[in-house]
Symmetry: C2
Subunit: 885 residues, 2 copies
């Protein structure tokens, strides 16, 4: 740790030295060097902080010498001397991490004051009241931050003195009042901290620097870093800057401003200021600050200067800036500039307008928007001005908000929904049986299941709000009662849920509709110009297909056929088909299903006319369509106990036998996917026929239809080879029967490790691949999606065994390696093979970037995530072009 | 297909041309060239067969010309002419594939005879009776094989003529009788085949050649190839050889002989012959053949010559030969030699003795024995002379045989077993709960589950006979009744099972004990000298450990701790531990388990003193130790129906709640393995303590103990890193407490794809790896081991989607690629990392060879497979040294 330069004057830095100087320090240096009026100062580096902790909370040896050395330069620049009794240099001490961490540590102002220097200050500015005000503020801040004396105790003393003096505002206190306060403050410090308030400015500064370093690991900072994924190893810098005083009378002041409106993005200076105040007064809310435009009247010269500087900074940084300034006796000083935080709506507008202003390129504009935040703009949300009674909180599983009558089963949701009534479907957890209830409700609330549970996945797919895994709910399905803490609800009571926050709210709440601004549309148009990945949607119904198209989907990458089997009208036929004893019986049921399926595909294919639609053949194990074994068992036991209807008993026992014969220990690894197609080829033949008949019908009607038939869950080339032959045979027959010479493709889902490992062989028979990363994640990690959450996932995240929930963010280290391997080997055999990804990951930005990097052709996500995916795909293209330049 | 040489004279071939000439052709050529008396002939190549099918069952153009050309040379050599009326050349036509396919096609003898040449033959040998006998045989064979006239119809005519003539044997028929028969045969052919028997010898030969080719795809051949894994693409050759006649009177004859005894391996000529007979008479069983040694009296010169030739052939081929010969008028002709099939016991003795005779090397001796067949020598078996009433057949899941009283639950098996009574445990399927029953029974019989079901795996592990998945069983567990077809059994009735064949046999059957011959021991000693893979055993108890050591295991590669938890005395404590609400409660139960576990490990470690013992920490999901949810549900429903004991009801409901909370949709991918260790570190700490305390205790007693602690089911380096730290901490504590400075290693099981993909990172923390290929197979293929058999496995095998059951033979294309990847990457980080394999595959020869090839250090299989693995490992070493030379 020798020979390191631990301290930089502002003049020695630049905005590119962020890692060493922290964000604040780098920007202060930058402003200094472009000639803006910045009070002189210095920055102690993040390296010093890292070394401080390595040394067991000791300042590195050379640091102090460096510090005093550089402080001398500051003294020279200001003409004042630190600790000097006649013309003392006062400094502010602020932390400044690499990434902005607002509120990590409070600022200390006016450091350098003590019982003697305060008199020097009073004389030098000829204003004792001001000097004592500075001193009492300093004692208060320093003791709070460095010596851990509670803030409110100071406030109590202050309030008492105001009472005694009979004044309302701080600035009405006289010099004597303030001297009294200082005395009492010092007594308080001694009592509370167990030692005197330090009088030695050198000691004050060293204590303050250490306190800033220590604050790096305070709980607030720890938490902030954790939720924002900031590494502990970065450390914080410390900025020591000569004080300028906004509290030096009516011609002084302080304020903060954004170069554009951070709420809606309007290109207009936005901010507020207070005259005769120090920084913390603006935020403290004791006096109400004025809008920044009023400064034009209060101090026109300063205002003009400030506007010019704000423009200069925005142009210099090429982004909206968040600026702090102080006016000392009509002289403007810049204390901070940084890229301003903004709402998503503002981010979109600012980015779009900056392109118009030729300040940034379209590519840069695209990078300025966080794709996942687009979500808030795509769903109904609760009026931000509404007062809410939040009674519980679950997992925010599908964004948007909804209010409605509580129902406890899907049928009620459907019936009331059809009557035009709003419902919230409340369930322990949902199963595929509940799908019609999800469709007809305004929102779904469950007490079990995680972000990737069935309810969550289905809800996100169709854009319904959903709150999952809310353990505070006590649901009595039988008696249709819901208890949440002290609140009791029955069927029909009104409740609201917010799927964006996870909140459960009493009664009806006012909603606002989503608005898709013109800027948003423009940004997405640019995204489409730049991205190379095609974005498709997962859609299982004409309604979803239409929604997907509206959001800009370039096709359907995954149309699941099992949801169609769940429809109330069809389930009995599906069950009849499954329970068939002979192939003849089964084919009879399949003939009935054929017309339903043809109808389904007709609607979906028509909605996506001109775009490819990938239909996955039946995938889930058949027992998912049958009644639950446990409820049958209970029925049977009851019938036996009560000597019930013998015929019914026999029937139920027979059914149970069949359900059990089909049941599996690990259905995820069982008789499903193309294994059904291999053992019951007639099922896949029926589905292929339904697709082709719908296609032929539409082509006859003049539509251009591009069906893609997908075989799921293969382990190698042979299942695809065999089933493709069956599908081709059906196509030949339908072409002959209809006289329509339609086109189609046959491809496969790569969703098992072995399929990745034999992708080269599979590529020979496939006309396209889509990666099913949900199932791949399950098998590569050995994580059952239904089981891992609530069992060990949290511990795995806490111990950092995994960085993210692998069902949300693609596991690049495991699953990703297999994807790369498969793409490389498949493309060696068939260089132009279209390859996509269609798991939950296809709507998650980092996973989309990975898809881009490994050379996929498309991603396919739920309709409501299509805009997010379009933006993320464009960002991936921009980021990776930059890298290759 | 031009310019190919389709026909080879015997003199043009050699034994190395097997692929082109087939086995029989190549050996006839070889014998010709080493100067043995082989009747001249030619071979039509396998290429001709392949081209024949490519041309749509047409003989390639140049083939016929080639054939007549080479046939002329044969004519010259024999001094006879094909189709000549005075001195006709007769030929035999036989198929000869690359791999021996006995019985694929019948032989045609005496081809070339017709109404005219038969007279020429009669004159040339001056024996009309002989000539007509040849002709009637020829018509019979040719019409059967080439013209599809049913064999029995000829036999009927023959029998009728014998009746008419009043004789008993064929050779008593006169020339006139035979002429009558020939007439009737010709009428039969015309009627049955719809055309005349062909008189033109050229036509006869072409028809015969085509019939041989066609026979390649007859159902018998298809089936034989399928079960023996022979490729359809190989085709068959055709051998056309000049006839010599064993039926030319009392000085002629024919026979077959083995150069050693194929049943027990004794080095003594073994075979039989018949005088005045043609080849088929020996096998047909009409006359009883004489033992070969009698030939010494019948024809001493020929016998001596034969013995010399037999020795010469054995020395030439350096293996026991299976020889066919014919004597024509005291002249010996060799018609075939091939490597003789033999029993495993014979194979072992022959191989060992040939090494002593310096005929072959030890390496060659090792390659002569099929490892999987050693199994029959290691288990008790049914006396081959016993008469059995087989009442059903299941899957031969664990070899050996057993008889005993039927019991329907594990407790009865244990109780009767302790009284010294033999039982057969009959179950629908077994669960880990049944383990004590398996241990105390003589055999296990289940109606469900496949070769890799729980029952099968456990039974193989401890060497108990087991027949699984016998669907013919109707088991009524409640009433303790078993129905098999028309047979009814109750508890206590005697039954036998044969786990080698899958047979279920009525009553008690006589058994023979396994014999480990000295030759066997010597072969295994040689295997140990040559193999580089170490062979360990999977063993969970001191008994198994002892057995493993007896069979030559070099350590324990997998000691599962869950079976120890299942013991009746411990299960209640385990359940108490699982159901604990607090960590204190759990630790209390764990303290009770500690002494049990220490005792277990003490026994196992002591049995394996001086050898490494890998103990896998608890692996299965906890709910496997709890009562079944369904039976609880039934109990609860019953209690509710009958207004039963309210307290009991509440208790059961509480228990059901907990069982359900722990239950999982896909337990294989759930909360198990090190996920338990991460969420309940106290369980793994207890187990580590038990291992270390046992180690310390044994070291104190003077034993040299090498414990290896294994963390299962990791997905990356971090679980191992975290848990190794815990284990190391326990070791430090136990060393301190006991004052014993024992050694140990901590490693991990690589059994998930992600662990393979991050093996390099894992290697940093691991002191050894073992591949858990059972679980890897489940995840890589997405096959649940418990579910895939009986659902779709058979179809997958039938359609050749998979070549073998991947739970028996390691899937090299999928799982194998991941193993290679992991070994390569781990060794780059830690070149000397010991890596082994411990799934079911570790006892399967092709998987062992793969393990050798990818550079593993050890395999670990069930104790009874250790000899097999030792031999297979030696074969792998020999095969792969040869390859690299």
């Amino acid at each position: 740790m020798k020979n390191k330069k631990y301290v930089y004057l502002f003049a020695e830095g630049s905005k590119d030295m962020r890692n060493l100087l922290g964000g604040k320090g780098a920007n202060l240096a930058e402003m200094t060097n472009i000639g803006l009026p910045v009070p002189p100062g210095l920055t102690i580096t993040t390296e010093a902080c890292i070394d401080y902790f390595e040394l067991g909370k000791k300042l590195p040896e050379s640091l102090e010498a460096d510090l005093w050395d550089k402080l001398e330069t500051v003294e020279e620049a200001t003409g004042k001397k630190f600790g000097d009794n006649s013309n003392p240099l006062l400094v502010s001490v602020r932390s400044g991490a690499v990434a902005s961490m607002p509120g990590m540590m409070d600022t200390i102002l006016n450091l350098g004051l003590n019982d003697e220097t305060v008199e020097g200050l009073a004389k030098s500015v000829n204003d004792p009241r001001f000097a004592y005000d500075c001193y009492r503020r300093f004692i208060q801040m320093f003791s709070d931050v460095v010596m851990e004396v509670e803030h409110y105790e100071f406030e109590t003393i202050l309030a008492k003195q105001k009472d005694t003096a009979g004044v309302k505002n701080d600035n009405e206190l006289s010099a004597e009042d303030l001297q009294n306060i200082i005395k009492e403050y010092k007594v308080l410090v001694k009592r509370s901290a167990g030692k005197e308030f330090p009088q030695n400015p050198t000691e004050q500064l060293i204590m303050a620097v250490q306190a800033v370093f220590d604050s790096w690991y305070n709980p607030r900072a720890d938490y902030y870093r954790k939720i924002n994924n900031i590494s502990d190893a970065l450390g914080t810098a410390v900025n020591v800057q000569s004080m300028v005083f906004g509290n030096m009378g009516a011609k002084s002041g302080t304020g903060v401003a954004f170069t554009r409106n951070p709420a809606n993005g309007e290109n207009k200076l936005y901010g507020e200021y207070l005259m005769n105040a120090q920084g913390e007064d603006v935020v403290a809310g004791i006096r109400t600050p004025n809008p920044i435009t009023n400064l034009q009247e209060d101090s026109p010269v300063v205002y003009d200067q400030f506007v010019k500087i704000a423009n200069l900074l925005e142009n210099h940084y090429r982004d909206m800036q968040d600026i702090e300034f102080t006016i000392e006796n009509e002289k403007l000083y810049m204390l901070q500039t940084r890229t301003g935080k903004r709402t998503t709506a503002a981010a979109i507008r600012i980015a779009a307008e900056m392109v118009d202003e030729k300040l940034i390129t379209k590519e840069e504009a695209l990078l300025r928007i966080e794709p996942t935040q687009l979500d808030q703009l795509l769903h109904r949300s609760i009026d931000p001005n509404a007062e809410l009674i939040v009674i519980a909180k679950g997992l925010p599983a599908s964004p948007g908000a909804g209010s409605g009558r509580i129902v406890f089963n899907a049928d009620d949701a459907e019936n009331l929904g059809k009557e035009g009534k709003d419902t919230i479907l409340v369930r322990l957890e949902t199963t595929p049986d509940d799908i019609h209830g999800v469709v007809y409700s305004r929102g779904i609330l469950t007490s079990r299941g995680g972000m990737t549970s069935h309810a969550a996945v289905v809800a996100r797919g169709i854009g319904k709000p959903c709150v999952c895994g809310c353990e505070a709910l006590e649901i009595d399905v039988v008696n249709e009662k819901l208890v949440v803490g002290k609140h009791q609800f029955k069927k029909g009571d009104i409740i609201s849920i917010d799927g964006t926050t996870g909140n459960i709210i009493l009664g009806q709440v006012p909603m606002i509709d989503p608005e898709l601004s013109p800027s948003f549309q423009r940004i997405l148009t640019w995204a489409d110009e730049i991205k190379t990945l095609s974005v498709r949607a997962n859609a299982d119904s004409p309604e979803e297909a239409k929604k997907a198209r509206e959001f800009g989907a370039q096709g359907i990458g995954l149309c699941r056929t099992e949801h169609m089997f769940m429809d109330q009208a069809r389930l009995p036929i599906v069950q009849e088909m499954i329970l068939s004893e002979t192939i003849e019986e089964r084919e009879k049921s399949l003939r009935k299903l054929l017309s339903f399926q043809q109808e389904d595909f007709y609607g979906i294919l028509k909605a996506m006319e001109g775009l490819p639609v990938t239909v996955r053949l039946l995938d889930p194990p058949l027992h998912e369509f049958l009644p639950n074994a446990e409820s049958l068992l209970v029925d049977i036991t009851k019938l036996k106990c009560s000597d019930g209807d013998a015929e019914l008993l026999e029937e139920k026992e027979e059914l149970l036998k069949k359900v059990k014969a089909l049941s599996e220990n690990n259905p995820m690894l069982g008789h499903r996917g193309c294994r059904l197609g291999i053992t019951y080829p007639e099922i896949y033949r029926m589905q292929a026929r339904a697709i082709f008949q719908a296609t032929a019908q539409l082509e006859k009607e003049g539509y251009n239809i591009i069906p893609e038939v997908e075989v799921p869950l293969i382990i190698g080339p042979d299942e695809l080879r065999l089933l493709k032959a069956e599908i081709d045979e059906v196509a030949v027959a339908v072409r002959e029967e209809t006289g329509v010479d339609f086109d189609y493709h046959v491809g496969t889902m790569i969703e098992l490790p072995r399929a990745c490992l034999t992708a080269d062989e599979i590529a020979e028979y496939a006309e396209f691949f889509t990666f099913g990363t949900n199932d791949l994640t399950q098998t590569v990690l050995g994580f059952s999606r239904d089981d891992s959450e609530g069992k060990f996932m949290q511990e795995y995240l806490d111990y950092k065994i995994i960085e993210h929930n692998p069902f949300i963010v693609l596991d690049q280290k495991g699953v990703g390696k297999l994807l790369k391997y498969a793409v490389k080997n498949a493309r060696e055999v068939k260089p132009n093979l279209p390859i996509g990804i269609c798991g939950e990951h296809a709507g998650e930005p980092s996973s989309i970037e990975f898809s881009h990097v490994i050379g996929l052709d498309f991603v396919s996500c739920s309709p409501f995530r299509v805009p997010i995916a379009r933006l993320a795909a464009a960002q991936a293209a921009v980021n990776n072009n930059n890298q290759s330049k």
